[in-house]
C-alpha cells in the first residue's frame, strides 16, 4: 500500500499501558506477513499491459500503482497466494520460490 506506515508495538508493562475496554486505534498494524510466503510474485513490467487486474484482485491489497504503467508489490504484506499471477492475462507475473530469491 502506498505510503503505508507500520505502528510500533505498544508498551504493555504498566497497568496504564493496557487499552481501556477491548479497544485499539484503527489501522494499527505492528506485524508484517512476509514470513507467510513460500513463493513470491514477481512482476515483469515489460509484459504488463496495465490492466489493473492484479491490483483489483489481490485479497491482501498488496499491489498498488505507483505511476502510470507501474504496479508494485508490497512484499511486507504479500502472502504469496498466487492470485495475481494466475489472473494476469498477460502472464506478466511469475511465482518464484522464496528460498531461491
Amino acid at each position: 500500500m502506498k505510503n503505508f506506515r507500520m505502528s510500533p508495538v505498544p508498551e504493555f508493562s504498566k497497568i496504564e499501558d493496557i487499552p481501556l475496554g477491548a479497544s485499539c486505534k484503527a489501522f494499527h498494524i505492528t506485524e508484517k506477513n512476509a514470513s507467510w510466503r513460500i513463493k513470491r510474485p514477481v512482476i515483469n513490467q515489460d509484459k504488463c499491459v496495465d490492466c489493473y487486474r492484479c491490483y483489483l484482485l489481490c485479497p491482501d491489497g498488496a499491489i498498488h500503482r505507483e505511476a502510470a504503467r507501474n504496479f508494485l508489490i508490497d512484499y511486507d504484506f504479500c502472502k504469496g497466494c498466487g492470485i495475481c499471477a494466475f489472473e494476469c492475462k498477460a502472464r506478466a507475473i511469475s511465482m518464484v520460490k522464496e528460498t531461491l530469491v
Binding site: I15, P19, L20, G21, A22, S23, C24, A26, F27, H28
Partner: protein, 390 residues
Amino acid sequence: MSRFEFLNGNEALAWGVKLAKPGVIAAYPITPQTIAVEKIAEFVQDGLLDSIYLHVESEHSAMACSIGASATGVRTFTATSSQGLLYMAECLPYASGARLPIVMMNANRAMATPWNIYGDQMDVMYVLNSGWIQLFAENAQEALDMVIQSFKLAEDSEVMAPVMINLDGFVLTHTYEKVNIPEQELVDSFLPPMQLQSHMMNAQHPTSVCISAGNAHNMEFKLKQHLDLLNAIAVFSRISKEFGNFFGRYHGGAVEGYYYSDADVLLVTVGSIAGTVKEVVDAMRKEGHSVGLLKLRMVRPFPVKQLAEACKNAIAVGVLDKNISFGYEGTIYTNVNSALLQSGVFVKTQNFIGGLGGRDIPKKEIRSMFKVLLDNLEEKKVRFHNLRCT
C-alpha cells in the same frame, strides 16, 4: 418543582430514565419488566422523551443494539428479566469488557422450569461474574433515584462499566407508592450529558472496538477491568452522598444498615425484602431483642470491607437469600461467608432461603429467622422458609 406521584416500581424507574435522557433505548418485553418499557415507549411516542426506541426482536438483540449504540458514545438504556436476562447472557461480559456504560434494569423473576413469572432473585445471581455493577433497589423511590445515580456511576472515568439495577418482580415493580419526581434541571446539572470516550467509535479517530486479545495480552485487560470495577464502591458512595446533597434523599452507599452497629445478630439481605425486615427489626427491638439488618445495595463489586466491619461484633449473622444455587446454598450467603472468612471475622452464620418462585416472606418467618440466629444456629446451614411441604 419536584412533585409527588403514585407510581409502581416500574413506572418510577421509567421516570428515572426519562430524566436521565438516554439517546437510545432498546428493549424486549418480558413480565414483570413490561410496564417500565411501556411507560418509556409512551414517553417517546408522546414526544416527552427525545430518544430512539428500538423495538428489537429478542433480549440478545436488545443488549447487542445497546452495545452498538453505546459504542458510538451515546447514553443507552435497556431492561429485562429472568429468561430474557439469561437469553442475553453472552452479551453481558461482552459489554463490560468493552467498558460500555450501559444501564439496564432487571426485574428479578424466577427462572424456568417450572415456569414462573413471580419475583425471586435466581436470575441476577447467574450474572454476578459478568463485570456489571449490581445494584438492588428497595422501593420505587430508590428505583427512580438509582437510574440517575447509575448513569453517573457507569460513566465515571474511574469506573466506566455497565450497571444493572435490580427491582424485585411484582413486590417492587408492580407495587404503587408515593414517589418524588425531581426537577429536570436539577437532574441535568447532577448528570451532565455523556462524553465520547477514547475507547469508543469516533468519526475523527477511528477505533477498533471489541477486539481480540490472545494469551499474551488478555489477562491484563481482565485485570484492568477488575481493578476499575473495584473503584465503583467508593465512587458509588460518593455519588450517593452527592445525590443526597442535590435532591435531599440519601439511600446509603454500597450497604445500608438498620440498627446494625450494636446488634447481636444481623440479617443480611438485598432488595425489597429489606423493607419487611425493617418492620420486624422495629418490633423485635421493642421487645428487647438485639437484632439488626444489613442491606447490600451493591453486590458487585462486593463490599467486603463494609460487610466485615458491620459484622465484626455480631454473635451470629444470617443471610436471607431469594435464590438457591442448586446443590449448595443461597448465593449471597456464599459471598458473605467468603468475605467474613477472608476478613478474619469468624462469626457463626446461617442461610435462610425464602421467596422462591414468588412465595411470600411474611413477617413471622423473618421473626423465626432472627429466632434461629438468637437461639439455636442449626447444623444444616440452608434453611427453607414458608414451605408448604415437609
